[in-house]
Structures are given as structure tokens and as C-alpha cells.
Amino acid sequence: MTAYNFAYLDEATKRMLRRAILKAVAIPGYQVPFSSREMPMPYGWGTGGVQLTAACLVPEDTLKVIDQGADDTTNAVSIRKFFARVAQVATTEATGAASIIQTRHRIPEAPLQEGQILVFQVPIPEPLRFLEPRETETRTMHALEDYGLMQVRLYEDIARHGEIARAYAYPVRVEGRYIMDPSPIPKFDNPKLDNCPALQLFGAGRECRIYALPPYTRVESLDFEDYPFTPSKAAGQCCALCGAMDSYLDEVITDDAGGRMFVCSDTDYCATRVAVQAEDAA
């Protein structure tokens, strides 16, 4: 593959991206505008994440790509193959073996390590967007820490549903300063954002925004004193395959007669546990 530069993007573009990443790392939670490129995949398929990954990749890297926690879904497979071709980097499905993990909608169950980079695909980076449609105004609100409105959204949830009903893309406050949309990860994953040893990068291709959480950043989920944040998941269920009680579960419909089962959304975590159990049994 000599027709493409290493990792698809030209060096000038990667430099532009790295500058934006450095700025984002310097101001945790702040949305840095960048000049998003056309990528050989549609918007909504992770063009922001792909550009970040391309800017971070070096030939020695090992890449893992997950979509909703799974390594084997179309989107994950396509992106993994893409970088295997245009950067010839090693790929893996093992969380612990990856140096860069691009993800959509999940944080892996296995704890991340120092030196790892987690790249999130972000559809709508602005947490205030559905409350305030004007970009000029939301930017001013961030600049002035004018965040009453965000809390109003949570208030409305409690008033209407008796609890904060938001189950994913649950807003967080970064280092007591910027309010940030953690991308549509389940709120179950929110605690993993906090004080994480890995570098976490967020890319929104269509919206042309990059933001970041440097390692060991303080990340708090917004809540009320009398309605504290709870990282919930499917109640009282365990994984039908590996029996895990502590992982985030997907509900899988198995037939047309209402049959269903709960399985780990993180396929690597689940497969690893199943393998260990098989070994123990043997």
C-alpha cells in the first residue's frame, strides 16, 4: 500500500490534528474546533474517531476497535481493516494488548493502563445543544461557566420521571470546570472516565470538534445532593455466557416467541472469562 501516506491522512493534516489534540489535552473537557476531513466512510460511522486514531498511530502501535463493546460488528471490523491496510499496524481484540483503542458507545470492562489511548467516536459533542440551539451562545456559556441550564435538564428528568432518566451520554464536569458530553456511552461507564490512567480522546467529525481527558483527570457526573448519580445497568441480571455480574449487559432477542438473554456487551471481556472458565474446568 504505497498509494496512501501512513495512516491514510497526509502529514500536514495529521499535524493539524495533533495540534488540536494537544490543545484539547491542555484544556481538559474544552471542545477544540478542527478542520475535519472527508474520510472514506460516511458521517456517523466514526469519522471523528478515525481522524484522531490516524493522527495518533505510529507503526509500532497495536489497534483495537470496538462498536458497542464488540470487536466483531460491521463498523468495528471495517475500521480495523482500514487501518490494517493503510497503516499496516498490528490489530488485536484483547483490551490489555492494545496501545490504541477506538470505540463507539462503550469503555472496555478491563481497566485501562498508562500509555494506552482510548479514542471515542462522538456524534454531538455539545452537551448543551438540545437546551440551547445557538452555537455562539453555548460557547459563551462554556466560557462563562454558565451551567444552570444543564442542571435544569436533570431537574426536569426528576420532575417528570422521579429520577434522572438519562441512561447514556450522561453529562460530566471535568476538573470542576467544563461540562462535557462523554459521547453516548452508557452511564454505567461514567465512573471509568474518572481518574483513568489512559489518555481519552473524543472526536466529532461532522461537528469538527476534538476534546480530551488527559490521564488521571477528575471527572464527575452531574447530579443533585438528594438524587445522587447512580451508574446503573440491567438490574439483577448476569451474563448468560460468562456469568459476569459486574459488566454492562446487552439484551439479545433470541427468537420470535419473546425469548431473550443478557450477555456482556464487551465481547473481549466475555470471551476471556469464558476461556478462563473452560481452562479451570479442564
Binding site: 462563562l144 444552570g148 441550564l149 426528576i158 420532575a159 417528570r160 443533585f224
Partner: protein, 256 residues
């Protein structure tokens, strides 16, 4: 006593068109000042310059802040102005849709200012919102309804509750009863009168209604073509107007 608001040589132009020019006045704590004049006389321009919604071209607007004494709000940072706008100031728009969040419940509308200044206890916020809905005569059972389900008068009362919940010291009102039926106006006026007296509020009220000005304002400023043509004690301006325009204004009112 320190004046609450001192306005010096305030002018605002829209290109070559005059918004308001060379306005001076001093507002003392507890005073309610009315601004009257016809449409286009510069009343709303002046009010918006005072409230920091738009920068004047010249002049100073000195507000006696709680923590740092008199400060010129024109040269303040936007952050400081916004802080004032959600603590010490209130702004009641003529059209409640401009001052309310129509897709947020009544309780959320009232609670927003509390949350904006750091309130994080849902129960307390709700209790305060309920108290304020009561004060503006909105049934607590309507607390979780959105304002679009409210009548015009209720929306306006909700806007007032939303503004007063953080105990502001200076309230700007832009023709607060302008869009309402006469019967509803009376109720709102009575409510405003009571709140102003009980809370010791200072206010600047733009109105086109001289009867409303008489009822609410201690003093009056009459504007024409962007300039203040007459000012003084409300009943003196209305009963013994000196300027030709004020005489015309007063004599043009129909008495029912």
C-alpha cells in the same frame, strides 16, 4: 446612602439612527422609575443598555454591586455582567416567551436561576419554586406543567417568579402588562405592586400605559425621539406636565 444605579451620558446609535441620547439619571434603593413614551422613542433601547443586553456607544451605567460597591457595568467583563443578571438583576420581558423556557416545566423555569448560582439540592430547589409559584398565584399543582399550557397572564406571572427567586435588587421590566387583557393586567399590576413593596425592590419599568406608571412608579421619565424630555415625581409629571410632548401624551389618554 449610595445610589443603586447611576446613569451618565448614555447614548446608543443604530448606524446613523438614534436609539437614545445623553440619558442621565440616578436611581436610589427602593425607588421605582417608570419610562414612558411612544413606540420608537428609545425606551426599550435604554432599558436594554441599562440591563447589559447591548453595549451603549457612550456613557456609564454604574451599579452598586453587593461585593465591590459601585462598578461601571458597561466596562465589566461579560462574565461579571451575566453574574449580575442572574443574581442582583432581573429582567421581565413584555412577551413571556422571551423570558421563559417554553419547553421546561414551571418549576424548572423558576429553579433555573437557583441552579445557575449553585443550588444542587433538588428538594430545596423545588420547595423554593413552589413558594414562588404561590407568591405569584400559580397553583403548585401546575408546577410540572410547561408554560405553553398556561394562559398569557400566568406565563407573565411565572416569568416574574423566575426572575425574583434569587432576590434581585434591581428589576428591569419592559412593558410587563403590554400583551395582556385588561382584566389580567389589573391582577398583574396589583401583584407587582405588592412584590415591589414587600421586597423593597428597585425597578425601572418601561410602559406605554400612564395609569400603570402612576400605580407602580415613584418617578417618571418621558422620552421622545431618543431623548428624555421631562422627568420628575410621577404624579407631578402626569398632573402638571411641563413639556409639550408630555402634555400631549397626558391629554391623549382616554378615560373609561
Amino acid at each position: 446612602m449610595t445610589p443603586l444605579l447611576q446613569v451618565e451620558a448614555l447614548s446608543k446609535y443604530y448606524g446613523h439612527h438614534l436609539g437614545c441620547a445623553d440619558v442621565h439619571f440616578t436611581l436610589w434603593p427602593g425607588e421605582v422609575m417608570g419610562i414612558v413614551g411612544e413606540s420608537g422613542s428609545g425606551k426599550s433601547t435604554l432599558l436594554n443598555c441599562l440591563a447589559g443586553h447591548m453595549p451603549p456607544d457612550t456613557g456609564r451605567v454604574i451599579f452598586d454591586t453587593r461585593d465591590h460597591g459601585p462598578r461601571d457595568t458597561v466596562v465589566m467583563t461579560e462574565a461579571e455582567r451575566r453574574w449580575l443578571a442572574r443574581t442582583d438583576w432581573a429582567f421581565v420581558h413584555q412577551n413571556p416567551r422571551d423570558g421563559l423556557r417554553m419547553n421546561v416545566s414551571a418549576g424548572g423555569n423558576v429553579g433555573e436561576r437557583l441552579m445557575a448560582v449553585g443550588a444542587r439540592h433538588y428538594g430545596d430547589i423545588r420547595a423554593q419554586a413552589e413558594d414562588w409559584l404561590g407568591r405569584v398565584e400559580i397553583d403548585a399543582r401546575r408546577m410540572d406543567d410547561r408554560p405553553r399550557a398556561f394562559s398569557g397572564g400566568m406565563q407573565q406571572r411565572l416569568q416574574i417568579a423566575r426572575n425574583l427567586v434569587t432576590g434581585p435588587r434591581l428589576v428591569f421590566m419592559d412593558d410587563p402588562t403590554g400583551g395582556l387583557d385588561v382584566s389580567v393586567q389589573a391582577r398583574l399590576l396589583d401583584l407587582l405592586r405588592g412584590l415591589v413593596r414587600r421586597l423593597g425592590l428597585s425597578a425601572v419599568i418601561v410602559t406605554h400605559d400612564l395609569a400603570e406608571a402612576r400605580l407602580l412608579a415613584d418617578r417618571l421619565m418621558v422620552m421622545k425621539d431618543g431623548r428624555v424630555v421631562e422627568e420628575g415625581l410621577t404624579d407631578q409629571v402626569l398632573d402638571d406636565p411641563q413639556h409639550a410632548y408630555t402634555q400631549l401624551l397626558v391629554s391623549s389618554v382616554l378615560h373609561a
